[in-house]
């Protein structure tokens, strides 16, 4: 059963009326300063990405390519993860009052009319087929609803598709150019697009639920049935052979989400708050996920249901409900498709019309005599007029393309061709944002090269496939040269046409952009714009602008220029706001300085684009040309100041670190100094003590010759002993000093430690016998042999033995010497049965001048340097010297010396 054409027309009109009401409401709120554009509305408006191509075409694509339809949604999801890139784009656009992607690229490369024009032309050529696609989708959906073939219906002799196109054009004009002031933002339109996004999502999900759960027994049932069918089962597999295609699709759609004119319009130009992007980052991918959940089920359901019939899979969304008598659902689906198509056409045409007006028509008008003749006329109406005509023309072009192309090429094909066209903006855009060396010449070369390759490898072949032109250049190559085959350039075959085009066009584009940029010198305006774009986060708004313009201008001339393009009321309002910000009551008293000129140019740029604004301001202001060198100097100076302050910071940090180090070193020095002082003080004490006895006794002997002989002999004995003590002390202090300073002289040779031990024991034998101390030993008859200084080892052993004999009790004393090998080291022990040492003493006896024993009765005879010197010697040979002892249990002094490494 067919639905009534009139009913559908009325329904559509009512729906569009509703959208229009939403838009009016949004605009009214915006005018009142209460924007309804929240983060959610912004994120939803991004879904203008999902056109009728998504709504109808995804199902069609899924019936042939299985899961590969998902790539078109994976790309945007991944791209949105680069939030920083998008925020930078938005920041630049706000600072530069960017009106479109063409304006963005032109502004970056020196406000170039040429570049703006090129981008506009590429965008129009690339996108018009895409608009045609929307018209085709609407026409096809109407045909399905009205149950007829070939768009035969019409009114007053006009076919229905033309009526749709005309309605859409009118609608776009009403939405996009309602305001007489030609500002760049359209909050009402954004709100309406967000509503459309919701409607198309609801419609598609409703159809999906109907098919999945109404016609079949749920997802599991549907997939089971599909798997049973070998043709359908194939669709459920991920085909790794198409991985290259997947990559290309993901890349393309990722670029398209920003560079399609309508996407740039929504994401960048219409953005009211940078923070909204953070919501969109997850909400938009979530939306894409929802709208894609039922693509495969609907495709499978349609194929199962219409198996064997010739039903266009692109229309399953409508035909499945209709086939089951669910007319209301079919109507809802139709409204969803209508939403998808109208949203796309409205935003796309508004974006394109802005570009056409600002970047194609205005530059021509500015040069024409016609405009010169109307010096004082208000041109804001003219601007609006141009845009309206542009909208109408673009939709008309789309219609013409649709009529010409007809059924020639599948829906999806056209969408991807558009994507590839706008992908050509990527090098100039990203290069412009992150690479200061990118120049206008480079951007022009890159765009031109990429565009030509796109034209030759993708657009023209699609014409050839439609039979409009000869397909010779595709099949045999241009002029019969096989390496020029349009879809196998230089013999590169095996790729699908989109991947092929993307590869070669990007290679040409990026190659030309980089090569030409590196070999060309930017102009003054270019250099300063490059700085402003790339370093946008470093500069507060308007900060440096003042320094990059110099000249004379009159307030009247500038104001009347603004009024001509923006309308008097709006200009007065803006001037009042600007004056207030400067703390002035009346804008007429504003100083006409560089900042004001910049303000005027920015206001103008918001309406007519940066390139034209610059030309217009230059026409009324006498600008002194800043040479490139001068601009570079100014920019360089700023860079230098930044670099300098960074350097200062670094210096300060270094200085702080150095100060801390110095303080530490000073502390260490002070410690060393204190230790040295203590040492000298101790040495002094040790030297003065024997000297005191010597002096006192010799003075007495000298002064009193009558001292009896016994005392005299006794005193002289003491004097000799103390003199010897003094000599020993001085020798050991010098020895210690030499060891510590590393200036001691060492000999090195094979030393038999056993032999050294025996010799040491022998030389001290008399001392032991005198005190009746037993000296026993366990020393091998030969070896062990080490590399060392024999005399020094002897010194250590004698020191240990004489210490031992000093501390053991007379008569019952016992000293035991043992030489052995332990863990690759020679181990020498000198054990005694003396009073032993406390744990604390075991440590301190190795310090200088710290002797064991603490009563007068066992007052040790020693310098207090023997053990510290011994330890220094042993450590020099790589060994260790320590003592194991407990009070009352004797002491065991042990040292080790490493054995030489065994010879191989």
């Amino acid at each position: 059963m067919a639905l009534s054409g009139w009913f559908i027309a009325l329904l559509s009109a009512a729906y569009l009326g509703l959208l229009f009401a939403v838009a009016r409401f949004g605009d009214a709120r915006a005018d009142a300063g209460k924007s309804i554009i929240s983060a959610n509305v912004y994120a939803l408006s991004l879904a203008v990405y999902c056109t009728s191509w998504t709504f109808y075409g995804s199902v069609g694509r899924a019936t042939s390519g299985g899961l590969s339809f998902l790539t078109i949604y994976l790309g945007p999801t991944l791209m949105l993860l680069f939030v920083g890139v998008i925020i930078k784009m938005i920041r630049i656009s706000k600072a530069q009052r960017i009106t479109s992607i063409a304006d963005f690229i032109a502004s970056r490369y020196g406000k170039s009319h040429l570049l703006a024009g090129m981008v506009t032309i590429i965008a129009v050529i690339g996108v018009v087929p895409y608009i045609a696609l929307q018209l085709k989708a609407m026409a096809a959906s109407l045909d399905v609803l009205l149950d007829r073939e070939g768009h035969a219906g019409g009114w007053l002799g006009l076919d229905s598709t033309f009526l749709i196109a005309a309605t859409l054009a009118l609608f776009s004009i009403l939405f996009g150019t309602r305001h007489l002031d030609a500002t760049e933002r359209h909050e009402g339109m954004v709100a309406a697009v967000a509503v459309e996004s919701v409607v198309k999502l609801i419609a598609f999900v409703a159809v999906g639920l109907f098919v999945t759960y109404g016609l079949y027994g749920g997802l599991a049932d549907l997939f089971q049935r599909a798997s049973a069918n070998p043709d359908l089962g194939r669709l459920l597999q991920l085909d790794s052979g198409r991985a290259g295609t997947w990559t290309a699709m993901i890349l393309l759609s990722g670029l398209a989400i920003i560079f399609l004119p309508r996407q740039f319009q929504i994401i960048v130009v219409e953005n009211v708050d940078e923070s909204h992007i953070k919501r969109a980052v997850w909400l938009f991918p979530f939306y894409l996920l929802l709208i894609n959940i039922f693509v495969l089920p609907v495709a499978l359901g349609g194929m199962l249901h219409f198996s064997g019939q010739t039903v266009n899979p692109d229309t399953f969304v409508l035909t499945l409900p209709l086939a089951h008598g669910a007319e209301a659902l079919a109507l809802l689906a139709f409204v969803g498709g209508l939403s998808a198509a109208t949203g796309m056409v409205i935003v796309e045409t508004i974006a394109l019309s802005t570009m056409v007006c600002n970047d194609l028509v205005m530059p021509w008008l500015l040069r024409s005599a016609w405009l010169q003749a109307r010096q004082q006329q208000d041109l804001s109406g003219l601007l609006i007029g141009i845009r309206r005509v542009a909208i109408a023309l673009i939709v008309l072009l789309g219609y013409a393309y649709f009529r010409a192309a007809g059924e020639a090429y599948a829906l999806v094909g056209i969408g991807l061709i558009s994507f590839t066209a706008v992908a050509q903006f990527a090098p100039a855009m990203f290069g412009g944002m992150y690479w200061k060396q990118g120049t206008r010449a480079g951007a022009v070369a890159g765009l031109a090269a990429g565009f030509v390759v796109w034209l030759y490898t993708l657009l023209l072949p699609s014409f050839a496939k439609s039979g409009w032109i000869s397909s010779g250049f595709v099949e045999h190559g241009l002029f019969g040269a096989s390496w020029l085959k349009a879809q196998a350039l230089f013999g590169l075959s095996g790729l699908d046409e989109i991947s092929h085009c993307l590869w070669w066009s990007m290679l040409a584009n990026i190659g030309a952009y980089v090569a030409v940029s590196l070999n060309s010198r930017p102009g003054a305006v270019e250099a300063s714009q490059a700085e402003r774009f790339v370093d946008v986060f470093r500069y507060g708004r308007h900060r440096k602008e003042t320094r990059l313009w110099r000249g004379k201008a009159s307030l009247d001339a500038l104001v009347s220029l603004l009024e001509r393009f923006l309308g008097t009321a709006r200009v007065r309002l803006q001037l009042a706001v600007y004056a207030q910000a400067k703390g002035l009551e009346d804008w007429r008293t504003l100083p006409v300085d560089a900042e004001f000129v910049h303000f005027a140019e920015a206001e103008l740029a918001a309406a007519i684009g940066s390139a034209s604004a610059r030309v217009m301001v230059a026409s009324v202001a006498e600008e002194e040309d800043l040479g490139l060198d001068e601009v570079l100097d100014i920019l360089d100076e700023a860079t230098q100041i930044r670099a300098y302050s960074r350097e200062l910071e670094a210096k300060q940090r270094e200085l702080e670190a150095a100060t801390a180090e110095l303080r530490e070193a000073n502390e260490r020095l002070r410690e060393v100094d204190r230790m040295k002082h203590d040492f000298i003080s101790t040495v002094t004490h040790e030297l003065r003590t024997p000297l005191t006895s010597i002096r006192a006794l010799s003075e007495m002997l000298h002064d009193d010759p009558r001292i009896e002989l016994a005392s005299r002999t006794r005193f002289l004995g003491i004097i000799v002993g103390e003199a010897e003590r003094l000599t020993r002390l001085i020798n050991q202090i010098l020895d210690m000093a030499k060891l510590e300073s590393g200036r001691a002289e060492w000999t090195s040779g094979a030393v038999d430690i056993g032999e050294v031990a025996r010799e040491a024991m022998e030389s001290l034998g008399q001392l032991f016998r005198d005190k009746a101390v037993e000296l026993a030993s366990e020393v091998p008859s030969a070896g062990p042999v080490v590399q060392a200084d024999r005399d020094r080892l002897m010194q250590v052993l004698i020191n240990l033995l004489s210490n031992a004999v000093k501390f053991v009790p007379e008569g019952s004393g016992r000293v035991y010497v043992r030489v052995g090998i332990d863990h690759g080291m020679v181990r020498v022990e000198v054990a005694d049965n003396g009073p032993g040492l406390t744990a604390e003493e075991c440590g301190v006896i190795f310090e200088k001048f710290r002797q064991g024993g603490n009563t007068l009765t066992d007052k040790p005879k020693g310098t207090g340097l023997g053990l510290p010197i011994s330890r220094q010697i042993i450590e020099y040979f790589g060994g260790k010297l320590w003592v194991e002892s407990r009070p009352g249990a004797g002491a065991n002094f042990i040292f080790t010396v490493p054995l030489p490494a065994p010879e191989e």
Partner: protein, 122 residues
């Protein structure tokens, strides 16, 4: 009346020389070799003057000096500190805690005898 001198030092040879020196000058002499012994001898021997070494085991000369000065019974006792450490700070410290004189080792026997005699008013 014979004046009494207590000699406190841990170096036996210094004790020998001081003992001999002071006895020759006619003083009655007792010796101690560490701080604790010194305090005990001050009580038992009741000297008029103490020749007190600073660097000693157990109790240093400074500690002994402080203890003596805190004892009202020993108010009239003369204290001469002897030290091998000649630093100004040590001299100042000794005098501050109540020593009557401070003599640096090695000393001149004549000067020391003269000083002791002056202090004892002999």
């Amino acid at each position: 009346m014979t004046r009494k001198i207590l000699i406190v030092d841990d170096e036996p040879n210094i004790v020998i020389s001081l003992e001999f020196l002071m006895k020759k000058e006619g003083f009655e002499v007792a010796v101690a070799s560490d701080g604790d012994e010194a305090l005990a001898k001050v009580t038992s021997f009741a000297p008029d003057l103490v020749l007190l070494d600073v660097m000693m085991p157990k109790k240093s000369g400074f500690e002994v000096c402080e203890a003596l000065r805190a004892d009202p019974a020993q108010a009239g006792l003369r204290i001469v500190m002897l030290t091998a450490k000649g630093r100004d700070t040590e001299v100042a410290k000794g005098l501050a805690i109540g020593a009557d004189a401070y003599v640096t080792k090695p000393f001149s026997t004549k000067d020391l005898v003269a000083q002791v005699k002056t202090m004892l008013g002999a």
